[in-house]
């Protein structure tokens, strides 16, 4: 039996995580995460490298299988052993740091392929929706281009269009701009900002603090496999409670200073 068809309860969050643990062998990467993202909310996750941000995101759509705890997305329990995970993943869009576009398909093909093979949309519908989404990310003129012919920023926007074309209820972003040249970051963040304004539920791992401050409703700081603290975006960025958060922010906001001090990473 699958529960993916269940309507979300009135007070159900878009993403509800409780008691989440994840170990790789003896390495416990997530050590008990309780976390919730409401529908329409934009939450940024920040934290040092290796703190488990990617693992957290990947547990939400089961690219990693949690060791313990439950994850519910849009009312469906992802961690239920009986769940149809492919059906759940259709409702969760994911954008990767390294884009992961399909190199053998054009931009249009990238955005259409899963619609056709997974949602069983006809060729015409799939391509129409693909075009609409490519237009939405500002790439109407790149429909026929292969990924190798696109800049990093364009590739990442195709990846966003690809996820959007499936009509997801939640979007996960794992450092979507970290692999981009600085001058290309703005285009991608602009698309994400537009999505947020349109009311998409977004969970974003990022080091772009200005994006977090201006776009996110909430910021969560992770370290050592736990969420150390979370709160309203502007306050978290300017005046966090914890010393570790403050230290991390000072490094991210002023990398040069951190390097002089010999700070890691």
């Amino acid at each position: 039996m699958t529960r993916t068809g269940e309507p979300a309860g009135a007070d159900a969050g878009a993403i509800e995580i409780s008691g989440l643990h994840k170990s790789f062998g003896a390495n416990e990467v997530l050590r008990g995460i309780d976390f919730r993202v409401d529908a329409g909310e934009v939450v940024c996750v920040i934290g040092p490298s290796g703190s488990g941000k990617s693992t957290l995101l990947r547990c939400v759509n089961l690219l990693e299988e949690p060791s313990a705890g439950t994850v519910r997305v849009a009312g469906a329990e992802v961690t239920d052993p009986d769940v149809d995970i492919d059906a759940v993943r259709r409702r969760i869009g994911m954008v990767f740091q390294s884009f992961n576009l399909f190199p053998h398909l054009t931009a249009l093909g990238n955005v259409a392929v899963a619609q056709r093979k997974v949602l069983r949309r006809g060729k015409r519908d799939a391509e129409r929706i693909a075009r609409e989404n490519l237009e939405r990310v500002g790439l109407a003129d790149k429909v026929g281009a292969y990924p190798a012919q696109l800049s990093g920023g364009q590739q990442q926007r195709v990846a966003i269009a690809r996820a959007l074309a499936m009509g997801p209820e939640v979007m996960l972003f794992d450092e979507p701009t970290s692999a981009l040249d600085p001058e290309l970051v703005g285009d991608v963040l602009g698309v994400m900002r537009g999505l947020a304004e349109a009311g998409m539920t977004m969970l974003v791992v990022t080091h772009e603090m200005s994006f977090a401050r201006e776009v996110a409703d909430r910021v969560a700081f992770m370290d050592g496999g736990v969420i150390v603290e979370q709160g309203e975006a502007a306050r978290m960025v300017t005046d966090p409670d914890h010393e570790r958060t403050r230290e991390f922010l000072s490094r991210v906001l002023d990398p040069a200073a951190a390097r002089v001090q010999g700070g890691e990473r």
Binding site: N61, L63, D86, A87, R89, R90, I92, G93, M94, F96, S98, N100, L101, F102, P103, H104, V113, A114, K117, V118, L119, A148, A159, R162, A163, M166
Partner: protein, 284 residues
């Protein structure tokens, strides 16, 4: 900026042998010149000593060569192509299945695939031919491999090619970045769907050059049909060449058969090398 070989310093060092004391460039040119002269001298000596009329009589006799045509093409070359194509087709289909089994999460499939690959890579192809031609009819009296000689040769070649092609395809699949499966799965594709729609098309692009080389190998290996009992119409290049060499008491048919092989294999090898080079350039 000049790029010097690693041993440049050494060769510029203390005086050495014949060319001692000369600038390095000049010394290298002289040494190369000496080598060419020696090579040319060897060629001239062989050409003078060789008994050209006899050689020509044995290896390139025009009347014999003329009698080979058109049969060596319409029968020999054609059958070589047919055996190769059937063997490659079976090997490709089998290789894909075995490669997928080899990468399966189900351990018994993996063991089976590994066992198959090791066994068939470890056996002489001739033994496989004899097994198909002699062993199968002995073991199962009355059964016949469909397709006659084409079926037998194709099966023997295909059984062996399956093992090699399986390893090639597995390497190709593993060369596709992990992120590709993850992206496909995150869009809701099942494991099988992701493999078929996203991974295999990329993997096949990667393995086209090695597969082209596999065709060259199969083309040559199809000569083992020699050891099957086949009719005149089923002879491929090698058997054709051998039979006619025996009949005419002359080596020319073997030489012509050899040239026919090269007409297939050299362009294919060149093609494979070019595809490989293009792939290497295409990688960014």
């Amino acid at each position: 900026m000049t790029v010097e070989p690693v041993d440049a310093a050494a060769s510029r060092g203390p005086a050495r042998g014949l060319f001692a004391g000369m600038p390095r460039r000049r010394r290298r040119r002289l040494s190369l010149g000496a080598q060419y002269t020696l090579f040319a001298a060897a060629v001239v000596v062989v050409a003078l000593l060789a008994d050209w009329p006899t050689l020509r009589e044995n290896f390139a006799k025009q009347e014999v060569a003329e009698q080979l045509f058109p049969d060596i093409i319409t029968v020999g070359l054609r059958n070589t192509a047919v055996y190769t194509a059937v063997g490659f087709g079976l090997g490709l289909a089998g290789g894909l299945v075995v490669a997928l089994m080899r990468l399966s999460t189900a351990a018994p499939y993996r063991w089976l695939a590994t066992a198959y690959i090791e066994v068939f890579r470890g056996l002489p192809l001739l033994l496989i031919f004899i097994f198909v031609a002699v062993g199968v009819p002995l073991a199962f009296p009355g059964t016949e491999i469909p397709g006659g000689a084409v079926g037998q040769a194709g099966l023997a070649l295909g059984l062996a090619a399956t093992a090699y092609i399986a390893e090639t395809i597995r390497a190709g699949i593993e060369a596709v970045p992990r992120g590709q499966v993850e992206a496909a799965r995150s869009l809701g594709m099942s494991q099988g769907r992701a493999m078929w729609t996203i991974i295999l098309p990329q993997a096949f692009r990667i393995v086209i050059p090695p597969l082209t080389n596999q065709v060259v190998l199969l083309c040559k290996d199809s000569s083992l049909v020699l050891f099957l009992g086949i009719t005149l119409e089923q002879r491929e290049l090698t058997k054709f060449g051998r039979d006619l060499a025996g009949q005419k008491g002359n080596t020319t048919p073997i030489i012509v058969a050899g040239i026919c092989y090269l007409i297939i294999t050299i362009p294919l090898s060149l093609l494979a090398r070019r595809l490989e080079a293009r792939q290497r350039r295409g990688q960014r």
